[in-house]
Each structure stands twice: as C-alpha cells, then as structure tokens.
C-alpha cells in the first residue's frame, strides 16, 4: 500500500483552554475522498487549517504529503488546493484575473496560467463569465470559481471546507457533479461537511467528529450498517399530541428518538413498524418510511442532530 498523503496521530489543537481538536488519529490515502462529518464547532475546520499549514499543531504529529506543516508549510501549501468555508475571491477583479493572480502566488509562468485558466473556466462552467466582476456572480458560480482557483496549481491534495454550505439545492448538485469529476480523475479530496447527504455522495471514507474527537469511522455504508438500522419510520403527530403518543410507541422497532417535531423509529422493517403503529390505535398526521442515513448514525452516536 502506498504511503498516506495525510497522517495524523493524537493530533490536538487548543486555543487557550478550549480544546478544538482532541487527540485524533486518521490517514488519508492517495485517490480517496475523505470526509469529516460533524456539526458546527466539532473541530473540522481547525483540523483542515492544520492540514493546510496555516494553523500550528498544538500537540501530536501531523504529516502532510510526507512533510511537517510546522517546518515545511510553504512547500506543503505549494501542493495543496484549498477551498475555504467562506469565499475569499478578490471582488475587485474579474473572474479570469482571480485565477491569474492566484496562479502567480504559486510562481507559475503566465503562459502556463493562461492555458490553465481556459481549462478551469470550462470545468467550472464559467467561460462566458470570464470578464465579469466576481461581485456579479451567483453564489454557486462564486463557489465554482473558488474551486477552479484551488486547482490552478494542479494540487496533489484538495481541501474543501463545507463546499456547499449556503447554496441552493440545484447549485449544490452542480457542485457535487464537479467534485465527482475531480474524484474520477484520481484527485485526493478532504471534505468537511455537516450535511450527511454530501458525505454520502462524495466520501469514500469518513470520520464522524463531535466535540473535537472522532466518534466513529468507516465508509458511509459501513457506518450506516454498524450504527443504524436498515430503515427509519418518521412519525409526525398533530400539534400537542406527540407526548401522549410516544408512551404508546414503546417497544416498537430497535430504538425510538423523540425530536421536537417528530418521532423517529429505527427498524429493520419499515412497513412492519408502520403496521404496528396502526395496530396500537395511533393515528399520526404523517408517516414516512426511509432508508437510514448518516444523520441517523450521528443521532445514535451523540444523541443530537447534525444541524440544529
């Protein structure tokens, strides 16, 4: 097996007394899409910043591309593509010049940058907007431009911090499609997200983070198989009647989670559970049977939901 591109052992980040990342271990291998799934404040971005060699490691060891970020930060950053959580494009410049300026940061000759700009704009579906100011782009276009910019140096490793947060569903799907293509070309991606569907779509392997620590790890399918049941029945009750109904659900399925607006029953046979609910004389306002997701895994692990 080839050496991992990123390797962390007991990796820790502290800000004064606050422990943002608490002694985590992980390896990211070439060609895989590796995810950090967790709610806001779980330590995902702090981990990304350490991998990106812009935040010193407090304790433990971290190797990125075989190098030590504290010592060889610039050499590591030269081979990374970074898509930050918030867009940080140069709004005073047109689309193509954002790529030109960024390419020069990597000391690429202008002729090389010009060639890559054409390719990257085509990839980001922004060729027609190349002379427009960044301010005039939609949220999805800005995001795609930020990704294109991160690819200007043909990075060995791409870091994507919450790549689709704040985008509408259609823009998210376009972006997923682009990231999927990168994956197909053999790129190595590290993605943080608090969307379980994003993690399911993009990640080959992921770790679930909570309060700075890793709560579980595996492929999306393994995690669901291990921590969740095959299906989940979502029951919504008329306002005010949920509390009374919950008592009468006892014993149904494998586990029952009561959320403020609905009750989730984890089960291996959704239809069977729905029939049981009716048999007990309960009449929910709505019943949905669905596959288990990573959200259910997270709920099981932490007792909380990913997005509050």
């Amino acid at each position: 097996m080839t050496d991992p591109l990123v390797s962390a052992r007991a990796l820790t980040k502290r800000f004064d007394d606050f422990v943002a990342v608490d002694a985590i271990d992980f390896d990211v291998h070439p060609g895989e899409a590796f995810g950090f799934l967790g709610p806001n404040g779980a330590g995902k971005s702090s981990t990304m910043r350490m991998i990106g060699a812009v935040s010193p490691v407090t304790e433990g060891t971290l190797t990125v591309l075989g190098l030590d970020p504290d010592r060889d930060g610039a050499a590591i950053r030269a081979r990374l593509g970074v898509v930050p959580q918030e867009n940080n494009l140069d709004t005073e410049l047109p689309v193509e010049e954002n790529l030109l300026v960024y390419g020069r940061y990597f000391d690429l000759p202008r002729a090389v940058i010009r060639e890559r700009i054409d390719e990257l704009l085509a990839f980001a579906e922004l060729t027609e907007r190349r002379r427009d100011l960044v301010d005039h782009l939609s949220g999805g276009m800005k995001r795609r431009l930020t990704i294109a910019r991160a690819l200007i140096n043909q990075p060995d490793l791409i870091l994507l911090d919450e790549p689709t947060t704040g985008l509408d569903p259609q823009a998210r799907h376009v972006l997923w499609d682009r990231l999927y293509r990168l994956k197909q070309r053999g790129a190595t991606l590290i993605i943080t997200t608090h969307y379980m569907d994003e993690a399911e779509q993009l990640c080959d392997r992921l770790v679930v983070m909570d309060k700075g620590a890793i709560a579980a790890r595996g492929s999306p399918r393994e995690l669901i198989a291990h921590y969740a049941t095959r299906e989940v029945v979502e029951l919504r009750f008329a306002i005010g009647s949920q509390e009374g109904a919950v008592d009468r659900l006892e014993g149904l399925g494998k586990r029952i989670e009561v959320l403020p607006d609905r009750v989730l029953v984890s089960t291996d046979d959704g239809d069977r559970t729905v029939a049981d609910v009716a048999e007990r004389g309960l009449n929910p306002a709505s019943v949905v049977v669905r596959r288990s997701t990573l959200e259910d895994v997270f709920l099981r692990l932490t007792g909380r939901r990913l997005i509050d």
């Binding site: 935040s55 610039a74 410049l93 010049e97 300026v101 140096n153």
Partner: protein, 258 residues
C-alpha cells in the same frame, strides 16, 4: 523563480490596474486644492503680514508645498495601510486566500509594504508635478524631495498595518485618523513652523515622524536648515519603518496563523 514577496507585490499591481481610476483623480486634485486654498489663498494674506518675517521673506506657497508633500505621503500611506488591510483580513478575506498559497505572512507584509512604497512614489511624483505647475518649486528640486517624502510615508506604513492587524472593526481606523493622522497633519510643521506653537507642544512634534519628514523634505526641496542633523532624521524615519514592518509581521501572524 520569483521571490514570494515580489509575487505578492505583483498581485497588488494587477489589482491596481483594475482600480486605479478611483484614486487617480484625488491624487491629482488633492495637491491642486490644497496649494490653491492654502498656498495661494491663505498665502496671499500671510505674505502681506508678519508671516514673512518668520519665513524670512519666503513666499508662503514655497514654504508650504514641500511640507504638504511629506504630509500627503503620510496620508496616502495611512490610507493604503489601513482599510485595504482590514479588507484583506476581514471583509474580502483575500489574506486568507493568499496565505493558503506558498506566500507566507512575512512575504505578504513585505510585498504589501513594497506596494505602499510604489504608491507613495507615484503620488509624490504627481504632487511634485503640481508643485512645479504652481511655481512653488522647480521640478528638479521637487524630484529630489520625492525621496524624503516616500520615506516619511513609509515610516507610517508598517505601524499602521500592525495597528490594523489587531482591529476587529473599522471604528479603530476612524479613531486613528481622527486622533492620529489629522492632528499630525495640522501640527507637525506642515502649515507653519512648530516654533509658533506653545513650548510644551514642541517635544510632541519632535516625537512624530511627520515633523522629521516635513523638515527633511523641506531641506531637500528648499535648502532650509533642519533643526537636527538630517542623518538623525533619516535614521529616525528608518527606525519607524523597520520597527513598524516588524510589528506588522508579528501582529498579522498572530491574527491570521492561529
């Protein structure tokens, strides 16, 4: 291979190619307005009154112009080292993008300060051109004065970058201009010799880099004697430049690499 700081400087120039129109008019108009209002308007009154005794017979416009050149350099520097830095850190977050590349904080600060120097050189050259148009100084002696004017501006660039690197909102910048830049502009010998001020204010003026810059610029442009040896004044301005640059690297590092 180009040094990282030079690459950052180059990026500032690329951005400026898109945005120069915004500052071009004020670069030219500012000296025109000041030299008209103060140099010619107020100057006519001064030249008729007692001012000429203090100024030893020199026309007020002639006295004012080099001082104003140095003071304008300070203002240009303060402008370029404050709001754009806050934009880089906080508003557009372009510093975050830059520092994710091989460019480090040292490179960014050095490139940024080099860019301020380029801007100071350009604005001072325009100022000298206007000075010559007004007949306040010959173009030749004006050109020589660009050097001390740029040095005056640079004495502020690092310190103000450092100060801005610690701010979390722009109120601090408004305060910097209100309580720092504007009083210095008015009371550091630009418009009148500081000997006209009450004695207790003299040490305050001596402490400001602007007073040294004004004296130095005036000496080069007009051949006036400086209060202290010019080498001391140059050293004082260089000290501010270097310490300011060092502080800027330190504070921006603390802000961006955490």
């Amino acid at each position: 291979m180009t040094a990282p700081a030079v690459r950052y400087l180059e990026s500032r120039a690329l951005v400026y190619r898109r945005t120069w129109r915004g500052s071009a008019i004020s670069t030219f108009l500012n000296p025109v307005l000041y030299l008209t209002a103060m140099g010619m308007g107020l100057g006519t009154l001064v030249d008729r009154g007692a001012g000429t005794v203090t100024l030893e017979g020199m026309a007020y416009l002639t006295f004012l112009a080099p001082g104003l050149l140095a003071a304008t350099a300070m203002q240009t520097s303060a402008g370029d080292a404050s709001y754009p830095v806050m934009a880089g850190i906080k508003w557009a977050r372009t510093y975050e993008a830059t520092l994710a590349s091989p460019i480090g904080v040292n490179d960014l600060v050095l490139g940024h300060l080099a860019w301020v120097m380029v801007r100071l050189t350009v604005t001072s050259l325009v100022f000298v051109l206007v000075m010559a148009m007004f007949g306040a100084a010959s173009f030749g002696s004006g050109l020589l004065a660009v050097g001390p004017a740029v040095l005056t501006g640079m004495a502020f660039a690092g310190v103000i970058t450092a100060y801005t690197s610690r701010l979390h909102d722009p109120q601090g910048l408004a305060a910097l201009f209100r309580f720092g830049i504007v009083p210095m502009f008015l009371f550091s010998g630009t418009f009148f010799p500081i000997t006209e001020l009450p004695g207790w204010m003299h040490p305050v003026a001596y402490a400001t880099p602007l007073w040294h810059g004004v004296e130095l610029t005036r000496r080069v442009a007009l051949g006036l004697e400086t209060t202290v040896a010019p080498a001391v004044q140059v050293a004082y301005l260089v000290l501010w430049t270097v310490v300011g640059g060092w502080l800027a690297i330190r504070f921006l590092h603390r802000r961006m690499v955490s």
